[in-house]
Structure formats: structure tokens, C-alpha cells
């Protein structure tokens, strides 16, 4: 994978559901999951997004997306948090966009 980006989730019973939510929110995107036991790398090329709405479908109607922080030990790329979504993208994406390259 050329520019892998995405969260690194720590041990817990929510990991599979978060991965499923990421897959739902990024249709057609190859999502790679690397399981190291106490942590799981979830990554895709260049950019992935996760929404509160999809997380709630898996983790309950009152799940707040801010709670993802409690299981995200690290991440790859630049993270952009809003009140209802999280996006991971390659660090140079903003610079490339400003330069009109993308």
C-alpha cells in the first residue's frame, strides 16, 4: 500500500465493530487490517472516513464519536475530527490540494 492511513486501535471488544463501520463508510476502498494482538492497524490508501452515524449502527444509538479516542492508541497520516466524523488522510494531501495537484 502506497500511502497507508488510518487508526491503530488498542485491545478491546469494539475493534471488529469499528472495522465494520470503517468498511461501510468507505465503500469500494480496500481496507487492510493488521492484527498484532494488543493493537490492530486499520488502514487504506490516502484517505478514509468514519462517521458517528455508522458507528452508532454498530455500537449503539448513544455512542459518541469522541469516545473512539479511548481506543485509538495511534494513527497513521493526518487526522481531521469534526463533531460527527473522523477522517485520516495523507499528510501531504492539503499541500497537494493547495498546489492544485489534486
Amino acid at each position: 500500500m502506497k500511502n497507508p492511513v488510518g487508526p491503530i486501535l488498542r485491545m478491546g471488544d469494539e475493534i471488529d465493530k469499528v472495522v465494520a463501520a470503517i468498511e461501510d463508510d468507505n465503500p469500494g476502498k480496500e481496507i487492510e487490517v493488521i492484527d498484532r494482538g494488543s493493537y490492530v492497524r486499520v488502514q487504506a490508501e490516502d484517505r478514509i472516513t468514519l462517521t458517528q452515524q455508522t458507528l452508532r449502527a454498530y455500537l449503539g444509538a448513544d455512542y459518541a464519536i469522541r469516545s473512539l479516542e479511548a481506543i485509538m492508541s495511534s494513527f497513521n497520516g493526518r487526522i481531521i475530527t469534526t463533531s460527527d466524523s473522523i477522517t485520516w488522510e495523507k499528510v501531504s494531501a492539503r499541500r497537494d490540494a493547495l498546489a492544485g495537484r489534486e
Binding site: R10, I71, I79, S83
Partner: protein, 510 residues
């Protein structure tokens, strides 16, 4: 009542960079603390964090993290899980508790400095959360370590380490005072959040948690990976700072990253390398130290640096070669000078373990095998005294770690090099070329005296091993020893041996 979305109100309460009318900007943000340098003051108006958090969100999430961490601890309180842990793994945790607990406190001081002198309201806001994070880390680490003091006095060094003059905390104080206490906030944001917390802490707090869980230490794995969730957030102060600095002063940005990268790499070779490749029981090792470094530093961190428009550090080749040697040499040093440390270093060189080391590090046997063989044969000849230190290693004048790094000569042999430098009437000795060059470029910065400097200056009396152990605060109940000599020497019992030191009794007879 529906609440406003964060995006609709956060900038009103966070962006508080009003114009001062009674004092100059310089009085509020003095250069020696705020460190704008060649960056125009107004350039900092663009500083914006990507990982946005509000105070209500912060306290709610932190409460969830704390509840989860302490719930696991409480659940395991009455179990016998601690007693079943391997002594080697326990050493990894002792090293972590003592080596990290008060570094977290120093990091809190660094975050407070950014919370006060950061050049943008958003930055100061993020650093305020960062200092609360680091206070949490210092508290949770000392508290979790304290639980075991009654079972093993070495855990008392969780709190004690940084109040002693042991050579390990002196080395770490030198690194972290330079990274967290001394710098202005621009350099600090790049050294601590960006280089150390985006790169290296992942190795000790996430990668090592994989070995912890495999080793059955659920509590420790849970604690360190919980800590790193805070780091993942507040480390994001580094990116926006770096973007602005790269735009206006890329030479400074490159230098600050290189200096802190090198210092971190040296420290982690000593702290994390032996824990992963020797102390963790063979059957519980997830990956080698080198493989974890490749995953977290070589691939992930370097790609990030390059995405910000910076180059690989100039010492890259020397660093990459060191991945196969530094931590093996430091492990041997830690084991040999074991009375000077507060954990029980496991040698970890049984036949099976050596096979694993050879597989992961093809040069291992050629560089280290014969040295360990001499030690093994002395142990099997019942001459442990020959494996104990009577002299001191030279400690590098930059990283304060033993100067013990072998490099390969043109004829194929491996030799430990001395990189020396004469300056101001004194000859300084370094463990690597990069330590020498960084010291030279940074020579006016704070540099602690190494234990060897103190020894040679007569500050340590009496001038022998007992004097230095006393100076370092090591008492007989705490000083390290191998937890199980037979575990790694029994494979070799009965073989013909060369290079044996004569046992004291035999010397008297001869």
C-alpha cells in the same frame, strides 16, 4: 434542547489572541520562551489543530479512559497473575515504571510551557489538555507501579529513579531536559509532540503492549496503550507547528527533528530494545525490536517527515546500521553492569534464543556470540565473579549511554569505535559519529556531566565499584542480578571452553 455543533462555537472560545494595550507582545511572549525566530509573528495566526477537542468532550473521554484502566486493575487485584509473570518480563515493567513515571511529569512541565507561551490560542488550548494528559500519565504510572512495591522492592524505583544519580536517569534527564524543559515552545513542539510522541513513544506504549499481552500482563498492556491514546491527540501540536516552521525556516525545522530523533533513537535502543529482544520470553515475542522499529519509525514516521517536506536525517545510514547492533550491545552492557540497575536483566542467550536472534539479526552470532560464550563458560565453571564489573564503561558525552557500538572494519572484523573531539581544553568521547556531531552543534546547550565525568573529577568517593554504587543509590536489596543463570547456560554445560577467567580459588592455588 439541542446543543450547538462544536464547529459552530469552538473558535469563539478558543481563539483569544487579542491585541495587548498595556504591554508589548514581546513581554507576553518573550523570544527565549516563545522562540518564533525567523517566523513572522503573524504567521502563527494560521496555526490550527486537526485533532479538535473541546473541554466537555475532553473530560468525558478522559473519564471513560480512567474508568476502563482502573477497572482492569481492580479486576486483577486479587488474582495471582502478577506472580505467574516471567522475571524477564517483570524487568521490562520495572525498567518502564522507573524510566518513564517522572518523565511524564517533566512532559507536563513542557506542555504547561506551551500552554502559556504557545503563539496561538488553539495551540495553547491543546497544550492545556496535553498537560492534564501528562499529569494523568505520571499518576497512573506511579500508582500502578506502587502496587508491587510490597512484593518486590525494585518496584520502589518507580518513584525513586529520577531522584537518584544512577547513570540511567542521568542519561534520561540529559535527553528529556533538552527536549522538554530547556527549549522554547516552537522547538519543544517539534521535539516532544512531533518527534517523540508521534514517533518513538508508539514503540514503548503500543508496540510493547503486544509483548505485554502475550506475556500475560494484561494490566500493563492496558495501562500503556491507554496512555498512548492521549499522546495520539496532544502529539498533534507538532504538525501545525512544523508546517509553519518549514515554510519560514526549514533549516531549523530539519535540525530540531534530527537532534531529537537521534537522542530518542539512542534512548529507545537501551530502553525498548532489550525488553523486546531479550527480556520478553521467547514464546511471547510478537516481533523483533528491529521489526517494530521498521513498522513504527522507518515506515510510518519517516513517511510523515517527508510528507511535511523535510528530508531523511543526514545520519540515516548510521542509524539504520545501528538497528542491528545498538540494542544488542546495550543489552550486554546492562547485563554486565547489572549491579548498577534496578531490574533483573535476563541474559536471554540460550540455544533457542540465540537461534531466534540469528534469524532476526544475521550478524548477531559473529558480533556477540563469542562474548556471550566467554560469559556462559565462566558461569558454568562456577565463576560468576569473572562476569561482574570491576571497572566502569566509558559513557558517551552526548547520550550518556555506554560507548559500546561495534561497526564493521574493511577486513570484516567488528570493533567498538571511539569518536573523540577536543574542545575547550578537554577531550570528549562519543559512541557514534552522530552523537559527536550533534554535541558539537549543540555544545552551548545544557549538558549534564556523565557519571564517568563525575567519577574522574573526584565527585564520587571512594573511587571504586562500591563507591559508585553508593553514589547511584543502589542498595543490595535493589541492585540487579540475573534472575535465572541456569535458564540460559544449561544448554552449554560440559562443552570444552576457552577464554575462561581463572576463578579466585584456582588463582590462589596456582
Amino acid at each position: 434542547m439541542s446543543l450547538l455543533r462544536r464547529e459552530e462555537w469552538q473558535h469563539f472560545v478558543r481563539d483569544v489572541d487579542w491585541a495587548f494595550s498595556y504591554v508589548d507582545d514581546e513581554a507576553v511572549y518573550p523570544e527565549w520562551h516563545s522562540g518564533t525566530g525567523k517566523v513572522p509573528r503573524e504567521a502563527w495566526l494560521k496555526w490550527e489543530e486537526d485533532y479538535k477537542v473541546t473541554y466537555p468532550e475532553y473530560v468525558a473521554t478522559q473519564r471513560e479512559k480512567e474508568s476502563a484502566a482502573y477497572a482492569v486493575k481492580a479486576a486483577l487485584q486479587r488474582s495471582s497473575s502478577f506472580d505467574t509473570l516471567d522475571e524477564g518480563w517483570k524487568s521490562s515493567t520495572k525498567m518502564h515504571f522507573g524510566g518513564i513515571a517522572l518523565v511524564e511529569y517533566a512532559a507536563m512541565l513542557g506542555e504547561l510551557k506551551m500552554a502559556r507561551f504557545g503563539l496561538n490560542g488553539a495551540w495553547r488550548n491543546m497544550a492545556t489538555f496535553g498537560q492534564l494528559d501528562e499529569l494523568r500519565h505520571s499518576q497512573i504510572t506511579t500508582f500502578f507501579g506502587h502496587e508491587f512495591v510490597g512484593k518486590d522492592p525494585q518496584y520502589d524505583w518507580t518513584q525513586k529513579t529520577f531522584h537518584t544519580n544512577c547513570w540511567v536517569p542521568i542519561s534520561l534527564r540529559n535527553l528529556f531536559d533538552g527536549m522538554m524543559i530547556a527549549p522554547n515552545v516552537v522547538d519543544l513542539a517539534i521535539e516532544l509532540p512531533f518527534t517523540f510522541e508521534t514517533g518513538f513513544t508508539n514503540l514503548q506504549f503500543v508496540a510493547l503492549s503486544a509483548d505485554a499481552l502475550q506475556s500475560g500482563d494484561v494490566n500493563f498492556a492496558n495501562m500503556i496503550s491507554s496512555i498512548q491514546t492521549d499522546e495520539a491527540r496532544h502529539s498533534q501540536q507538532g504538525g501545525p507547528t512544523l508546517e509553519i516552521l518549514v515554510e519560514h525556516d526549514p533549516v531549523r525545522a530539519q535540525w530540531v527533528i534530527e537532534k531529537s530523533f537521534w537522542g530518542s533513537a539512542r534512548a529507545f535502543a537501551a530502553l525498548t530494545g532489550p525488553a523486546m529482544d531479550y527480556y520478553t520470553p521467547l514464546e511471547h515475542r510478537k516481533q523483533s525490536y528491529r521489526e517494530f522499529m521498521e513498522e513504527w519509525i522507518i515506515d510510518q514516521y519517516i513517511r510523515t517527515i517527508q510528507d511535511y517536506g523535510l528530508k531523511k536525517p543526514w545520519f540515516w545510514d548510521e542509524f539504520m546500521r545501528g538497528l542491528d547492533t545498538w540494542h544488542h550491545a546495550l543489552h550486554m552492557g546492562l547485563w554486565f553492569w547489572r549491579p548498577t540497575i534496578w531490574w533483573r536483566p535476563k541474559a536471554g542467550v540460550s540455544k533457542d534464543e540465540r537461534e531466534w536472534l540469528r534469524e532476526k539479526y544475521p550478524n548477531w552470532e559473529g558480533v556477540y556470540g563469542d562474548k556471550w560464550d566467554v560469559i556462559i563458560d565462566n558461569i558454568n565453571a562456577n565463576n560468576v565473579e569473572a562476569t561482574l564489573p570491576e571497572t566502569l564503561p566509558w559513557l558517551c558525552n552526548m547520550c550518556h549511554l555506554p560507548a559500546c557500538n561495534p561497526t564493521q572494519s574493511r577486513d570484516g572484523s567488528w570493533r567498538v569505535r571511539d569518536w573523540s573531539l577536543k574542545y575547550d581544553g578537554k577531550t570528549h568521547h562519543f559512541c557514534t559519529n552522530a552523537c559527536r556531531q550533534i554535541w558539537w552543534k549543540d555544545r552551548d546547550n545544557v549538558n549534564h556531566e556523565t557519571v564517568i565525568d563525575r567519577f574522574l573529577a573526584g565527585q564520587i568517593q571512594p573511587m571504586d565499584v562500591s563507591g559508585i554504587l553508593g553514589y547511584m543509590g543502589l542498595t543490595p536489596d535493589v541492585m540487579g542480578d540475573d534472575p535465572d543463570y541456569a535458564a540460559w547456560t544449561k544448554d552449554y554445560v560440559g562443552r570444552s571452553a576457552t577464554g575462561l577467567a581463572l576463578a579466585p580459588a584456582e588463582s590462589e592455588e596456582s
